[in-house]
């Protein structure tokens, strides 16, 4: 069977059989898992870390680490929660490392020029959100990313971040309030 045929076969397989094949050493099956989860994992890393090179690094490491530890995964549990937990732990470790080895953040790039006014306003808003997210403490940023990018329930977020569900709800609520405050400040500065 050629490589293309092999990957097309894996494309129609369900998650459990892909994981079973991966456990048996079929790296092509793991490749299919990577293609199904790569966007979700990268989004999580971007949201948690607010640094694209680090997010790329950690996304890659997540898939390698998950493959190496696949024998520890219990198939009756949700795979997404397990792999998100790995990504979340790796992000936390990277943030600890960054506290000791900080990098100078690049200014947020604003594109526009000839775009219609609505698009510019939208991009402006998104730039404010990006800056606001970068200023949010990690404890607020992490659950907000999992909730609004990864579309996870409070229960799943609580399991991934190893925190009580009530704490997650409070952190998301406070994070959004802080974000609104930050955006408000930016708007005042822009108008002044």
């Amino acid at each position: 069977m050629s490589k293309e045929e092999e990957s097309s076969v894996y494309h129609v397989q369900d998650e459990v059989s892909l994981l079973r094949a991966s456990l048996g050493g079929e790296v092509e099956a793991w490749g299919e898992i990577v293609s199904r989860y790569k966007e979700a994992i990268l989004g999580l890393c971007v949201g948690f870390l607010r640094n694209h090179p680090d997010a790329e690094d950690i996304s890659h490491d997540t898939f390698i680490r998950a493959y190496e530890n696949l024998h520890r995964y219990h198939m009756e549990k949700r795979f997404s929660t397990w792999i998100f937990t790995i990504a979340s732990n790796l992000c936390r470790n990277r943030l600890r490392y960054r506290r000791r080895h900080p990098i100078v953040p690049l200014p947020v790039q604003m594109e526009g020029g000839c775009s219609p006014a609505i698009t510019i306003a939208q991009e402006d808003r998104q730039a404010q959100i990006r800056q606001g997210l970068s200023r949010l403490p990690y404890r607020y940023r992490a659950p907000i990313t999992l909730r609004y990018y990864n579309d996870l329930s409070y229960h799943q977020i609580a399991r991934i971040l190893s925190l009580p569900e009530g704490t997650i709800k409070t952190h998301i609520h406070r994070g959004k309030a802080r974000l609104r405050q930050e955006i408000g400040k930016m708007e005042v500065v822009n108008h002044a």
Partner: protein
């Protein structure tokens, strides 16, 4: 800003940031597959044990680990000794005979036919322990909804399941027995004279 606007904007912003990384995402699976393929074989249990001990900081956990490992060593030692003592050997062999005779072969070895009725299915594959759970496609040449494949297998016990349009189908009516695995079922077939020769 309205509450729902903020939530939507948060989702859109992160979505936008990920789509800016399209160049990275496009080749990620190939890169990871290449990296994993080129790796050395996994290190053995001794290496894992050494790492486990190295990571243990608290003496309490270390004590527990030592007790556990000692228990395992004694268990293996017990089995080893019991097999060499005539009294126990007789006991075990009687047990083995009683249980192995219940397993009978239903195939002569060599060719084994896998049949799956699935009218309207797009793809049907069989996955199993005979080739490390790698899918083998079944064919339905006369388009009557009965999918077939014939495999050459050496004598032994094989766990397998069908995958019909991506869904796991673990209970083949032609199987000798079923086993529960990872919250679902797998079928088992014995090939050869007796099923216990693997």
């Amino acid at each position: 800003m309205h509450k729902d606007d903020l939530e939507k904007l948060l989702g859109d912003t992160l979505q936008q940031e990920v789509s800016e990384e399209r160049h990275y995402l496009d080749g990620l699976e190939k890169k990871i597959v290449a990296e994993l393929t080129g790796r050395l074989p996994r290190k053995g249990w001794l290496h894992a044990l050494t790492r486990l001990f190295a990571q243990m900081q608290s003496s309490h956990r270390r004590q527990l680990a030592v007790i556990g490992i000692t228990a395992v060593i004694f268990l293996f030692l017990g089995i080893f000794v019991s097999e060499r003592l005539p009294l126990f050997r007789g006991l075990f062999s009687a047990y083995d005979e009683q249980h192995t005779t219940t397993i009978t072969a239903n195939s002569d070895g060599g060719q084994l036919l896998f049949v799956m009725p699935a009218p309207g299915a797009q793809t049907v594959a069989v996955v199993g322990s005979f080739n490390n759970w790698k899918p083998i496609l079944l064919t339905d040449e006369d388009e009557d909804g009965i999918w077939l494949t014939n495999l050459s297998l050496t004598p032994g016990r094989y766990e397998y399941a069908f995958v019909v349009d991506g869904r796991w189908w673990g209970q083949d009516p032609l199987a000798d027995e079923y086993v529960r695995s990872f919250g679902g079922y797998n079928s088992v077939r014995y090939v050869g004279h007796t099923g216990d020769n693997i």
